[in-house]
């Protein structure tokens, strides 16, 4: 007779694995992490920062001696993706901050990623070089040309091994297509096209063609004074190359089918949850603004993040989400203060785990939250240097909302609102997560026995 043991979700224990970045509390502005993204295999982890740099970490192969520990991530490549620019026509500085990085599925030995700042998207090729040709007839080893009169014999140049060099080179620059600030890029499942979205428009690009893009969504009103809604995020469906969604500052998500018409101003589906009249306040609209939208890997669901909650939508049901998870409901009574100090405008991202069973998002005080959809459990964890002993298990945290604060709980008023986790990423296959605090990248792994 077989005994089946079903592990409950909260049996997953998370351990500290690594932390990247400066230790000191004085944060250099350029070091602020602005995006985090695993590639499709999970072997590579890319971060972008406010200084326009991209740092790619590579997972070491699992070592036989320590099977309980998955490979560590070490720096693989670092390059300056974007430089600050000055728009002379408008007297505006264009920030070099990397807003988003998206990996292309790997098709050959090289890796490709798209990185974007507010105005320009670049396609980078990251390739390895571990051999170099030696023994040229006409060139010396240092590259100088030999006087061919001195060549008496001929030899065939050969490849000899060299120290691994990782080169990043910009292969395409997609510029001058966005008047407003780019907030999203998304590679299509056809691997030939991708979309870029700014506050008012979404453009469709072919990865090969840089001097032309197609505008597929335009919500700019004829009279800018009538502007009340902006695009906040956009993403292609993971399987259907004709489908994409975009979210708005009013809390709506529109699903569009590119087969319907060239300009997808008319949505195919509109996802919107009716407002709860009990919770209505002057801040209702601001907190309903969606900061991130992500399809599930299956393509059946999508997740949206607004200021206080994470919502899971079934693409077949537009009227309301199928699941709603409160990230930090205790902040609802503090909205006025959060509006005053601008925290209410923070844009948190969210992500799915590999099999779409758990979702994760960040919060304040360097807390981040995971919601298990199947077992209806959630946990709050903290990314901090104090919990940074190797393989130490993260202890769940709790914010006390009532008057009585239990031991180990932290009260709402003690939360540090400068320590916010906006960017998180989950390995596509394993339980490895990357969590970005202001200037540090934490990597946590599931505790394996």
């Amino acid at each position: 007779m077989a005994v089946v043991v079903v592990l409950k979700a909260n049996d997953v224990q998370w351990c500290f694995s690594q932390v990247k970045g400066a230790i000191d509390d004085d944060v250099a502005e350029a070091d602020i992490i602005s995006t985090v993204e695993f590639n499709h295999s999970g072997e590579l982890l890319a971060t972008g920062d406010k200084g326009g740099r991209v740092v790619i970490f590579q997972q070491e192969p699992e070592c036989k001696s320590q099977p309980q520990c998955r490979g560590e991530y070490n720096v693989y490549s670092t390059f300056q993706s974007h430089e600050p620019e000055f728009d002379y026509l408008k007297s505006l500085e264009i920030e070099e901050k990397i807003n988003k990085i998206r990996w292309l599925p790997q098709q050959n030995a090289a890796q490709f990623l798209l990185s974007t700042n507010d105005k320009t998207i670049k396609l980078w090729k990251i390739s390895e070089r571990d051999k170099r040709p030696e023994g040229y007839n006409l060139k010396e080893e240092d590259g100088r040309y030999r006087d061919f009169n001195t060549v008496t014999t001929l030899r065939v140049p050969v490849f000899r091994p060299m120290d691994l060099m990782v080169e990043a080179s910009p292969r395409r620059v997609f510029a001058n297509a966005h008047t407003y600030h780019i907030n999203s890029i998304s590679v299509n499942s056809d691997c030939e096209t991708y979309l870029s979205a700014d506050d008012l428009r979404i453009n469709l690009w072919n990865l090969e063609i840089t001097d032309r893009s197609f505008n597929i969504v335009d919500i700019k009103p004829a009279n800018m004074e009538e502007l009340t809604e902006v695009i906040t995020a956009a993403e292609f469906h993971p399987n259907q190359c004709n489908t994409f969604v975009y979210s708005s500052s009013k809390g709506t998500i529109r699903l569009c089918d590119m087969r319907a018409s060239a300009l997808c101003d008319k949505h195919s589906k509109l996802f919107e949850e009716p407002e709860d009249p009990n919770n209505r306040s002057f801040f209702s609209e601001i907190i309903s603004s969606i900061s991130d939208v992500k399809f599930s890997h299956s393509g059946r669901y999508m997740m949206t993040r607004d200021y206080l909650s994470v919502k899971i939508w079934d693409l077949n049901m537009e009227s309301r989400p199928v699941e709603t998870y409160q990230v930090h409901e205790y902040l609802r009574s503090k909205l006025c203060s959060l509006y005053e100090n601008d925290c209410i405008f923070d844009k948190f991202e969210c992500c799915w785990n590999g099999n779409d069973s758990v979702v994760m998002t960040g919060s304040y005080n360097n807390f981040f939250r995971m919601f298990d959809r199947g077992y209806r459990q959630d946990v709050t964890l903290e990314a901090s240097r104090e919990n940074s002993k190797p393989r130490s298990v993260l202890k769940p945290r709790k914010v006390s909302t009532g008057g009585k604060r239990k031991k180990d709980e932290i009260s709402v008023d003690s939360l540090d609102f400068n320590k916010k986790i906006l960017h998180t990423a989950w390995h596509p296959m394993d339980n490895i997560i990357a969590v970005a605090t202001t200037n540090n990248l934490y990597i946590f792994q599931e505790k394996l026995n």
């Binding site: 408008k90 920030e95 500052s249 002057f282 603004s289 925290c343």
Partner: protein
């Protein structure tokens, strides 16, 4: 890290202005104020003030965050709509219309530049609470204006007086003939970049200013209508105009940029506009006439540029 639910302190009567010696608000205004829960209306007013200051700062930023601006503007609109519905808005605007502001008062917008008489706040709805807390971290900007304005007009947000005025001034904004968002200062002396965007202080002179004052009450009605976002046709909403004054189409449109019409929101082409414009104060009355001026400007620029 954030102020713990700032408590607003106010005197028992609730409606009395902070500074003694000011005239008491019109009777009608107190009556309306009393019908609302005073703490709610104070909070709402405080939120309005805060939002307007944020918008002002938004405009000062080199790179305005459109999403944030839109969200704050929507919040302001919501508050204004609610205040319109319960009549508070009407009272306040009428009070402001009748209000006068001394020339030496610190002002926050060009509208108050034109109100050259006694203190505006005397006629305002009571705002006994202070928004001093918001001033921390805000720096003062000083702009010296030349031209017809005889006195120095300074913009400062550090004075305890100005935040109240700034709210009033924005309230007055819609009614004070929302200034043309394309017009710039006449002189080239305004060094402050930030000041450019929203404080298109006009230098038509005080004669023009006085012409406007009498029309303020009328424009009050006009503005209410424009708060309906669905209003199909102009008149444009001067409040929103002001809010998005630096987000005008030409500011961002690649099309307009490419046709060479676009110019930085500083001197240059707009100097031309000043010298060309014989409309004087009337150009302030609506942005549509400003647009025709701008088209005229385009035409002239094209000739000059030789395109």
């Amino acid at each position: 890290m954030f102020p713990k639910g700032t408590k607003r302190k106010f005197s028992d009567s609730g409606e009395e202005p902070v500074s003694s010696g000011d005239q008491s608000p019109p009777a009608a205004s107190s009556a309306v104020a009393r019908t609302l829960s005073s703490s709610y209306s104070l909070q709402r007013q405080s939120l309005l003030d805060m939002s307007l200051i944020k918008l002002q700062l938004c405009h000062m930023l080199v790179e305005p965050n459109l999403c944030r601006s839109v969200l704050i503007a929507n919040t302001v609109r919501q508050i204004q709509e609610e205040m319109t519905q319960d009549g508070t808005w009407q009272i306040m605007t009428q009070a402001l219309a009748a209000a006068q502001c001394p020339a030496d008062r610190l002002v926050a917008t060009e509208v108050l530049c034109r109100q050259t008489d006694a203190a505006a706040q005397a006629g305002q709805s009571p705002k006994p609470f202070s928004v001093v807390g918001l001033e921390e971290g805000y720096h003062s900007e000083e702009v010296v204006m030349e031209g017809d304005v005889e006195t120095e007009v300074t913009m400062s947000t550090l004075s305890p007086v100005s935040p109240q005025l700034s709210s009033a001034s924005y309230l007055a904004g819609p009614f004070g003939m929302g200034p043309c968002w394309e017009e710039e200062e006449e002189d080239g002396e305004c060094e402050e970049d930030e000041e450019e965007d929203s404080e298109e202080c006009v230098s038509e002179g005080e004669e023009g200013d006085r012409d406007h004052l009498s029309e303020d009450s009328r424009t009050g009605e006009q503005v209410f209508g424009t708060f309906e976002i669905k209003h199909p046709a102009p008149p444009p909403d001067p409040a929103l105009e002001e809010l998005f004054s630096d987000v005008d189409p030409s500011y961002y449109d690649l099309d307009t940029v490419l046709t060479g019409m676009q110019a930085a929101p500083k001197m240059g082409p707009y100097d031309l506009l000043e010298s060309l414009s014989s409309h004087g104060p009337t150009t302030l009355s609506s942005s549509s006439s400003c647009r025709s001026d701008l088209n005229e400007l385009d035409h002239i620029m094209e000739i000059i540029v030789g395109s």
